[in-house]
Assembly symmetry: D2
Homo-oligomer: 370 residues x 4
Amino acid sequence: MAGVEEDVVAWRRHLHRHPEVSFEEHETSAFVAQTLAELGVEVSRPTETSVLGRLRGDGDGPVVALRADIDALPIQEESGVDFASERPGAMHACGHDGHTAMLLGAAKTLAADGVPRGEVRFIFQHGEELAPGGARDMIAAGVMEGVDFVYGCHLWTPLEYGKVAAVPGDWMAAADFFEITITGRGGHAGLPHTAVDTVACAAELVGSLQHIVARRIDPLQPAVVTIGSIHAGDAPNVIPGEARLTGTARSFDPDVRSLIPKLIEEIGHGVSAAHGASFELRFVYGYKPVVNDPVATELVRSVVRDELVEPDPIMGGDDFSAYLAEAPGCYAFVGAGGPFPHHHPRFVIDERALAIGTRLHVDVANKVLG
Amino acid sequence: MAGVEEDVVAWRRHLHRHPEVSFEEHETSAFVAQTLAELGVEVSRPTETSVLGRLRGDGDGPVVALRADIDALPIQEESGVDFASERPGAMHACGHDGHTAMLLGAAKTLAADGVPRGEVRFIFQHGEELAPGGARDMIAAGVMEGVDFVYGCHLWTPLEYGKVAAVPGDWMAAADFFEITITGRGGHAGLPHTAVDTVACAAELVGSLQHIVARRIDPLQPAVVTIGSIHAGDAPNVIPGEARLTGTARSFDPDVRSLIPKLIEEIGHGVSAAHGASFELRFVYGYKPVVNDPVATELVRSVVRDELVEPDPIMGGDDFSAYLAEAPGCYAFVGAGGPFPHHHPRFVIDERALAIGTRLHVDVANKVLG
Amino acid sequence: MAGVEEDVVAWRRHLHRHPEVSFEEHETSAFVAQTLAELGVEVSRPTETSVLGRLRGDGDGPVVALRADIDALPIQEESGVDFASERPGAMHACGHDGHTAMLLGAAKTLAADGVPRGEVRFIFQHGEELAPGGARDMIAAGVMEGVDFVYGCHLWTPLEYGKVAAVPGDWMAAADFFEITITGRGGHAGLPHTAVDTVACAAELVGSLQHIVARRIDPLQPAVVTIGSIHAGDAPNVIPGEARLTGTARSFDPDVRSLIPKLIEEIGHGVSAAHGASFELRFVYGYKPVVNDPVATELVRSVVRDELVEPDPIMGGDDFSAYLAEAPGCYAFVGAGGPFPHHHPRFVIDERALAIGTRLHVDVANKVLG
Amino acid sequence: MAGVEEDVVAWRRHLHRHPEVSFEEHETSAFVAQTLAELGVEVSRPTETSVLGRLRGDGDGPVVALRADIDALPIQEESGVDFASERPGAMHACGHDGHTAMLLGAAKTLAADGVPRGEVRFIFQHGEELAPGGARDMIAAGVMEGVDFVYGCHLWTPLEYGKVAAVPGDWMAAADFFEITITGRGGHAGLPHTAVDTVACAAELVGSLQHIVARRIDPLQPAVVTIGSIHAGDAPNVIPGEARLTGTARSFDPDVRSLIPKLIEEIGHGVSAAHGASFELRFVYGYKPVVNDPVATELVRSVVRDELVEPDPIMGGDDFSAYLAEAPGCYAFVGAGGPFPHHHPRFVIDERALAIGTRLHVDVANKVLG
């Protein structure tokens, strides 16, 4: 459809300029809702910052759900693009701006073409980057009721432009999240023996936690334990009495998944005891692994017009897994080849990929409905 | 003098409620200036947030300077006292509220009694907690011109109430300050191999820096290297591309003092190279050691009415050393016995010590002038 | 064949009592050579401590090679079995005693039954546990000339008794080996600042090397870096000027394999520089991955009389891979279920497994020749 | 006395060639006993490898004991001197060869001159380098009975040739010793998750123990914790189930001295728990601080013919402190200026110092007796 590709690029750049972090997608969801309404799509708001669009055909038929995540990350953009984030400390560094724009483009095409029967649902989900993510709120609000197949489309810079991955079985890792608090005893920086130094304790802890992946999990089982943030102290001459760390664990195997928090506890208590400090862990089981349904995946593969590839699974997680617990589906990855990894301050995508993702949404929906 | 003791306690509590961190002592210095003016002391403002008071006698005579530091620390108070800080994130956790109040009390007494000859200068100094401290600004503004002796009085909780320390020679350590920046490569928390993890690098660095004191400095030379703050990352699922640390080094010996930044550089570059990261150190030579003049110290000792003690030197630093480079003097410590170390969020003093410090200022001034 | 099973158990126990570490298998190889000769097998000695047995049929036909490794490990046995090692510091803790005995049992059966045509070669290889292993010496001596298929049979305690694994494709990891020398400056334990402490440096290095697997290799790529030994110092009151470490790296992917020594170098030089020490790495590429040939593996699977299972690949390495570079083949694993892992001082096997391995050798040979 | 200086050098070189480690000084003590006997000194053997010489005057008078330690260290010599150690792995790297020779020289001189009254005792003590040292055996055997003053003379390379230090009060640190055993679970190097890796645990422990001196002891109190040896594992491809470390702690203050083993316990148990390993500490209180008696020290100072200096105390320990618990005395240090620290494999002394030490022994003895 003439003009849709240009719209998608324009929408994506608008969203890129105005990123909103997880659960704060007020302007983003308003923009999506208004755009859908202008396209003639039936709009509802399952939650405060999410949007559901529906195109219903005249007769009975299958229901296919297409999902995009709309939230940004708390990263200060350094990409240098013209349409860089205008909001300090927030950035679309994972491509959700593109996901949102592609799904809007698919809605425009499908609305113009008309849905003959059945239904297409457009799920614009908030809060994918922060566990427990927005998917469970959406499902609780009923967006998956009656859905026969669910699809999603992720832009992926490690994959070259022109390639599409739709892989059956294990595809994305379980993604869990944790917060650690180390409590010591604050004091004068020149009198360390009168304090319990939480900086020294936290530092040893970060090193000791590396043994989980390096020594304590079967090397044949993929696993990651990342400390994403560490914060302690406000002054050079004061020993802080508390240190806070946050992180994420990734795995596929359920036994490995449940072993990781046990090991963090064991290591955390041991290292803190060595320093005379105390340790507290808050571990949140986030997203299950994304496991693509073989039949639903084959359907995607049948409509791919570009180069179909089958890369290794991905240690990134996604709460798309929550939809897959409700209906068979597939999370396809569209090559958007760029020099920087996702979540990097200089992350950029090859915008030509937007047309591929848009088309894939449309083709999959038509295939299910046809 | 009747009532002065009550004034000192009241002033101290007022200041404790309204702490201002280093170089932001606007209300504090205004309060001091106004109080001095009301007492009939000649007032000037050497810098924006400091105050100089002068009481001049009729005839020629010695000039004695009495100094108090007036700034607070960036600590969230947890002391539970009635007059706790009303300013979030700021606290008088080192006793400077008391120092200020005691010197105001001395001014009130000396103003009432009259200065027969010579001059008493009251130096209310800003920014003692942050190097390079306020003392050098005060001296540049001329507060030490013509001064014959300079004295200060520090409340000290490790010392029991009722005791006073005035020790000749090495008394407080050199206090230097540094900032470290580790630069890696940000990335997705599930794909650590595509990033350079600055949290892991900073953690190993903190551990490795412990070898400076533990292994690389003569054990007979007192030294401390403290990392007072560490900050990296904003999200659990993003590997941060930068980590920032600040800290302080304490020593007495000049060779040890100059060795420490060299070792931080050596260790920092080595550990960062091991992680593929880069390292940058900004090291600021802060305060020289406080070395009390034997003659000036003997003068203090001669007027102490309480129990004179001679404890070990102190690893805390103070820019009182800058005044000692201009005139002979002594930094006396007044026991204010409390359960928590200086710079602790629950720091409290024994307020009875305020009377001792106030009296010491007055007695020393009279002794010099007499 | 009546009595063979008892012989195999007896031979295995004899060998268990008299373990010889890699490249020192003098008595072991003499025992094998004599036993084979008594069985009527043609015997030669490809190297000083290895043995080749041959049974040739009358007419032309395929040549099948069966290989057992015969060396023990430098471990002090703590198994408590009656026939425990009589040689201090040496132990058959990997099951090579059983491998040797099973292949002798196969030789006895095949010699008694007669080989109709073609040839069966019995390769009793020395030095499997120490890279570069004995396989390359054997091949250089010509043991693989004219071989059509090569098979081996490994007892495996993580696998239950009664199960056999013969898995096509990637089966065992590449196993590489390294030695690290850290050179500092020896000195008096009470004067650490006059020395460069290699114990402290080596300790930090071991911790820092954990980042290779935990942070710097794709979590989807299996990899292990183990420091198997660390040695420094002879006295509590002397700082040693040298520390020595040895270890092994395991991987499947060639890029990961070649990345590991680069990272060890990077980390080693960085950490040593942080301590003022120097670092030297000797890295030996050991064994390639064992990749079983699909056709040869299918042949094994067709004769397995027990439960055929398909477990995950194994991070252990084996220079059986060297034979697989010369002829298609398969390395089968026979369940010998026991409570302790291979290379553990209390390692024991379920001796019933010996009959299964012996029979597998015989059946495979007959299948190839038949 | 003509010739004594040459004898002392020759004796010292002979002893240097034939070092014997602590408690194995068989040849050394035999050599001393024979030499003394030839000089006409009354000889007895308080223990198997020590010697007591006595020269008694005719009349009553004071008894002065002169002590030398005679044992060597388990270090492989790399000094390159002509008379280097002929015994592999043993070396006089602390100067005890010189101490022994100097005291023999003093015996020769005093025997030739004759002792007018009272008595000179020559204590040739074994096992100074290994706590609990030989001094307590000597004292138990009665060598200090009736002694009025006790003196020793230590060659010291950090002190320039020509200088002598005899300092009243705190002079050498308390020297304590410890052994640590970490017990994990041995296993296959490629399967770290089935083992408990004692190398990784020991490495983290060594790093964590640095916090004792760096963070947990008053920086004004001199203290050292050195890990002198670490040993684990025999093969690169086996994870060892046990690691052993030995070390020494140095301090002056009794509270610090007793705090150190408590902290080693706390840190050891914490770090080991973090790895799932167990920890055992054997801590031996070795030598008390050497505190020189003011009167006895003044006596030494009065006879020094060279440059008397007053350096800082020394973190090295010596069981000379045991004698000082029995009688007042002084441990004098004689400058033997060399480029390498004591206990270094390339340790050498300036042999001209031998004459100074010999003379000091003689002069002190004559002063006491005179």
